[in-house]
């Protein structure tokens, strides 16, 4: 850690491979709900990523299952995609199933 701090403060460029690959961590809560994104860890191998995820995010009983995924394997939408991807969904009420009559007897749904 110390060496990295030193190289950053000097004018020498930080080597691109000074960090291990990044992995995204997903935890399944104890109640069996779907996996949720918890954060990320650095690790050299998948097993190490799994162990690091356990130690950083699940050491206090937060999970019953862990997924780790190489961050590089995730394809994400970009901020520029926001308009074309998501805006059209807001002004078309007919996309939402809100015009059905709720059968009698159903109070909570």
């Amino acid at each position: 850690m110390g060496e990295q701090t030193e190289s950053k403060s000097s004018s020498a460029p930080v080597p691109a491979d000074s960090q291990w690959p990044l992995w995204e961590v997903f935890l399944q809560p104890p109640k069996g709900e779907p996996h949720e994104h918890a954060g990320s860890v650095h690790a050299a191998t998948a097993e190490q990523a799994l162990q690091n995820a356990r130690d950083v995010y699940a050491r206090r009983g937060e999970a019953v299952n862990i997924w780790v995924v190489p961050t590089a394997a995730i394809t994400a939408s970009t901020p520029e995609d926001m308009g074309p991807f998501f805006d059209p969904g807001n002004d078309k009420a007919y996309r939402h199933p809100q015009f059905y009559k709720v059968p009698r007897g159903i109070r909570v749904f």
Binding site: M1, W20, H42, A44, E47, Q48, Q51, N52, D55, V56
Partner: protein, 251 residues
Amino acid sequence: MTTPALFPYLLRLGDDRLVLGHRLSEWCGHGPILEEDIALANIALDLIGEATLLLKLAGELEGGGRNEDALAYLRDSADYRNALIVELPKGDFGFTIVRQLFFSVFSLLQMEALQRSTNAELAGIAAKAVKEARYHVRHSAQWVITLGDGTAESHDRVQTSVDELWRYTGELFMADDIDREVAAAGLGVDPSTLEGAWRAQVDDVLNRATLTVPKTGYMQRGGREGRHTEHLGHMLAEMQSVPRAHPGATW
């Protein structure tokens, strides 16, 4: 059913974990990467938690009014009964992780056997410790293989650690009258019966890590009788400084 040997036997179990837990806690804030820093602190807390339960039980059996804190913080090094391997200074990360492998495999075998102790409390503590030890083995084995089968430098450094630590492994399996008495009573396990399985598991990891066992017959001993290296006294001086300076303090 109990026997006078159970008290010193529990001190050995508890002291191994207390001393190693403290050595591991010395990594807190100094780990090679953030994730491993947290991992080592987790394992340290597991070990100190096991030590707390074992020393509490020891204090109750002794019946002299000493609780787990009194046993941990108010005994001198000559009264400690841990094996020498756990008191050696933490060294570099390779040294720490090789020691974790050697001790964790031993601890897992020991605690698996102690789940069948005729002392229900000890059996319960062992059942909890088995789960923790299983993760400690997995964590340290993964690291020993990564470093041993890694670069030339990482290989040489962990091989040096294996060579240095090997002569301290024999003491873990040396049985004396205390061990034989608790084993005969069904309370404890004779450590010499664990050596074969330990060696097979350790050899498997070392082989995968391309590491070799040194050809030395001599094994260090003394910790179980209270004859320690100079390192334990220094460690206890730091570990015990606050409770000794402020007796009975709570927060």
